[in-house]
């Protein structure tokens, strides 16, 4: 699609509008609480939007998607801590390195299909986690702590938190634009064909091995940068937090809730899920109650609304298909 045609599409402007709301809303009144809330929503959106490239477009369920987030975090924190790299350079390098690593993994495990691929992705996450937990330069099981000096180049801790927040909002916007760009491209059409029927797609001329490896690699880039920013902000990273399968599974719930294969669905799902989560987290009776809800939610969606919220909206009002992709 030409740049001019992109600018005429409502979806593009919607993404810009959402990013602006995210960026501006907590600024008024210096609302740190809202900022932290939205920051988590942005992380969910980033994870879900990129996971959607695999699940919704190519039809490959990546259960271990969090490995990109965790590895990105580790690389960035390590580069900042041990080599004194500036945050931006470290985060970008982490994105590139993880993306490249994903390409290598992808060429291997994307020969598998269906349940076997899903199992292999869990294997990749657990394998990397075990490796990192025993890797002394990265602190092994104790992980890496950042000293407060790491925030000095960003003008101190308080200002650094704002800068990281804006960077994450930017990564969120880029994730949605990437989803959108791929969806409206020839590459995206090829992926959707693979998602529908891989053998038929190959017979029609879609270069399936290359496309699958490329989308797997692409889906690693922005989550890795998000992980870099997130763990830089936490000033602490350890294997259990970085490669947490719970977050991986939550990302899948978010994609299914919002509507797999759509551009705005994962964002909608992420926002709703994060709101639900923060409400339930404060419940006294049950810690991590959101996970119970998430499980039930996933069952209900898969059984009754496989298209998720956006799928339901598209079916209910077919005209919205042209406006909201």
């Amino acid at each position: 699609m030409s740049p001019a045609a992109t600018l005429r599409r409502p979806t593009f402007w919607l993404i810009v509008a959402v990013a602006l709301v995210f960026a501006l809303a907590p600024l008024s009144g210096n609302n740190v609480e809202l900022r932290e809330d939205l920051l988590l929503a942005a992380i969910y959106i980033i994870l879900a939007a990129n996971l959607n490239l695999m699940i919704g477009y190519a039809g490959y369920v990546n259960f271990g998607n969090i490995v990109f987030f965790g590895l990105g975090g580790y690389l960035c924190v390590w580069l900042v801590n041990s080599h004194g790299w500036p945050l931006l350079a470290a985060a970008l390098s982490a994105g590139v390195a993880v993306s490249f690593l994903a390409l290598l993994f992808g060429l291997g495990i994307l020969r598998l299909r269906g349940a076997y691929f899903a199992l292999a992705t869990i294997g990749v996450n657990e394998g990397v986690k075990a490796f990192v937990a025993n890797f002394t330069p990265w602190g092994g099981a104790t992980g890496i702590y950042l000293s407060i000096e790491a925030y000095q180049p960003l003008g101190g801790a308080a200002q650094a938190l704002w800068i990281i927040y804006f960077l994450l909002v930017a990564v969120m916007a880029l994730s949605l634009l990437l989803s959108y760009g791929i969806k409206t491209s020839k590459f995206g059409l090829g992926l959707l064909a693979i998602g529908q029927n891989e053998d038929a797609a190959a017979v029609l001329g879609v270069p399936t091995p290359r496309y699958k490896a490329l989308v797997y690699s692409a889906s690693a880039f922005l989550p890795a940068i998000a992980g870099a920013l997130f763990f830089f902000k936490s000033a602490f990273i350890q294997p259990d937090d970085a490669f947490d399968l719970v977050l991986s599974t939550e990302a899948i719930v978010v994609v299914m809730l919002g509507g797999q294969g759509t551009v705005v669905g994962p964002a909608l799902g992420a926002f709703l899920y994060e709101e639900l989560r923060s409400t339930l987290l404060t419940a006294q009776a049950f810690s991590n109650f959101q996970l119970v809800i998430a499980g039930v939610l996933l069952l209900v969606i898969v059984l009754f609304v496989p298209g998720g919220l956006m799928g339901w909206i598209h079916r209910r009002w077919p005209r919205t298909k042209r406006v909201l992709e």
Binding site: A193, N197, A200, L204, V206, P207, P209
Partner: protein, 250 residues
């Protein structure tokens, strides 16, 4: 006539079953070659070997002077060789138009999305799917899906088209329409290799016929020659009605 496709000494074994053996044939430019044989003769396997779904154990597939033996299906399409499936394979949740666009933009000419849409609309019109363009492919009738198979393959702008039983499961009216479409495809300069069980149709459409039995070539020649060949009739005898029909056509 120069050979467009040349299959030389092709062989393929699945476990204990020799699916195809010592098979050689060629197709000239502008020709319609019929591939017939009893069930299990290896016809669809030949298609799968030619378009790269399987790689042969031995032998060569030469297309337009290039050896394409064993290359992947998506590369075969780029060479200008497209196919349809005996069991229809629609991209079910995508629209008919999108199905055709996939065929066009990953076909021989490797078109951009915008150009592919133009080709897709034109081809859909040619095979009679224009009024179903927006429907999900999975919702088409069996005749519609067969036509979609054909449309997607044509969208690739092939030089040679492999048709795997495009007439099976159609009612007589639909068969008539499809035969008309196949003739017009050939008139546009596309060569065709087709598998078909409907004897009447394949006898009238084909310029030449190759008969397969148990993976081997049993006979080859003009439709009338093949139909009168005692070996062919014998091969079909297990299928008495087909043998009778063959006689009737000669």
């Amino acid at each position: 006539m120069t050979a467009l496709l040349e299959v030389r000494d092709l062989g393929k074994r699945f476990g204990g079953l020799q699916a195809v053996a010592e098979l050689s044939f060629s197709i000239g430019e502008g020709e319609i070659l019929g591939l017939i044989g009893p069930n299990g003769a290896g016809k669809s396997t030949v298609f799968n070997l030619v378009n790269g779904v399987f790689s042969p154990d031995r032998g060569h597939v030469v297309f337009r002077g290039e050896d394409i033996t064993g290359i992947a299906p998506f590369q075969v399409v780029r060479h200008g060789l497209a196919r349809t499936h005996q069991i229809v394979q629609p991209l079910a949740n995508m629209s008919v138009l999108e199905n055709c666009i996939v065929g066009a933009c990953f076909g021989r000419e490797n078109l951009s999305l915008a150009k592919a849409e133009g080709v897709a609309r034109e081809v859909a019109d040619f095979v009679g799917l224009t009024d179903r363009l927006g429907d999900p492919a999975g919702q088409l009738t069996i005749a519609g899906k067969k036509r979609l198979e054909l449309a997607r393959a044509l969208c690739a702008r092939p030089v040679l088209l492999l048709l795997d039983e495009v007439l099976a499961g159609l009612n007589p009216t639909e068969v008539e329409r499809m035969i008309g479409v196949i003739r017009r495809i050939r008139d546009r300069g596309v060569s065709i290799l087709m598998i078909e069980h409907l004897m009447q149709a394949i006898m009238s459409l084909s310029d030449r016929i190759v008969v397969l039995n148990s993976g081997r070539k049993l006979a080859e020649g003009l439709p009338a020659e093949v139909a009168a060949n005692p070996a062919v009739i014998e091969a079909y005898l297990g299928d008495a009605s087909l043998a009778a029909e063959l006689h009737e056509r000669t």
